[in-house]
Symmetry: C2
Subunit: 196 residues, 2 copies
DNA sequence: ATCAAAAGAATGAATGTTCATTCCTGTCGT
DNA sequence: ACGACAGGAATGAACATTCATTCTTTTGAT
């Protein structure tokens, strides 16, 4: 009786729990969000959460990895093999920015997780792997002279941290990124890392 | 029997409590650090903490403001009224970097505090005030054409978030900032914000 | 200078609360 | 009737905070 369509629409309590957790944790912080509240908001009993997740830490870490995956997926959107390195760089920059600005909860949650005691070794390793496409893009760019010969960790400042900083300011209302400002910011980052 | 020198050296439990709190919270996170542990590590009874601070939140917020003050003090070190805007900008950039790199606990604690539910209205207002000298430096720089006509919030990305990102990478061992790289990074930030 | 008494500081066991997690029941689809 | 799934009360550990008591320092009268 249960078609796959109905299943997706109604149940999948696992998904509901994850979404609720994301929303609550991003708003209230990790500590201030008891499992009982997650259960209540998800319309589920406390015990039910433990059918899907071993414990709170697991729940949080699985959510974190899901979001990282989704985020990096977005970052790579519309990248074509034929694009020049510069085009790829600019697209990724804008993709990141767009994702953060339209996914505030996700950003806040991931940022909170970033400096928290939940960052275990396995999680770090899993994240490391996800960045492989970027490491590759960087290696190619350096090899053909599109990127300066700087350490990748330095280049990443201008395509990751800078973008994040702009997104935060935009979301907090402290800065309104017009198309012009956005283009300026992208240009600054590209100038910072491009080859001579 | 008790000279003022001995007093300063031995007592001032308030200071001991604050220092211990800084160290523990930066390592273990806000919520993984019970007051009982702070007391133990500080060599003080649990109840004693409450002679000096109303509660845990107050303790954390007072520590936060102390550190912010100290941090901004360092950022302004060696700035002379006669310095050009460019000189000032470069000095502040390096001062920030140096402070973070040599004060890892402080950096971690402040960063953790930054996205946490302890960020109350009063704290934000107090921090806002501390930034006045920078706002002033920016206003002067824009007026005389040293800075581009960008929103201050945009300029601050290149003297605050970028520096923080570099310091974090340096501390995590992912990046070794040589003198050359440091000079490059400063130059990139200055190019990003300088007037035409 | 001495000492009793008051003031101030520190202690740590006790309290009450808040959780994460468990476990016993009930329900529903087959 | 069975088993997987869900419910939610019950459990117990962890924790922030309190407070009656003890220890230390200061005061001031002689």
């Amino acid at each position: 009786m249960t078609t796959s369509i109905e299943q997706d629409k109604v149940t999948d309590k696992r998904t509901v729990i994850l979404q609720t957790t994301l929303q609550l944790l991003s708003e209230r912080g990790f500590h201030n969000t008891p499992m009982s509240l997650i259960a209540e908001e998800a319309g589920v009993a406390a015990g039910t959460i433990y059918r899907y997740f071993d414990n709170k830490e697991t729940l949080i870490n699985e959510l974190f990895l899901d979001l990282k995956r989704e985020m990096l997926q977005h970052a790579m959107a519309r990248i074509e093999p034929g694009d020049t390195t510069e085009e790829q760089f600019r697209k990724v920059w804008r993709n990141f920015f767009h994702y953060y600005v339209t996914h505030e909860d996700e950003m806040r949650f991931v940022e909170q997780h970033h400096n928290s005691p939940f960052q275990s070794g396995d999680v770090l390793a899993a994240v490391e792997e996800m960045y492989a496409p970027f490491a590759n893009m960087f290696a190619v760019g350096v090899a053909d002279g599109s990127f300066r010969e700087l350490p990748m960790e330095m280049t990443s400042v201008y395509i990751y941290d800078v973008v994040l900083a702009f997104a935060k300011r935009q979301l907090s209302g402290k800065l309104k990124m017009t198309d012009e400002l956005l283009e300026e910011a992208v240009q600054i980052s590209w100038d910072a890392v491009k080859g001579t």
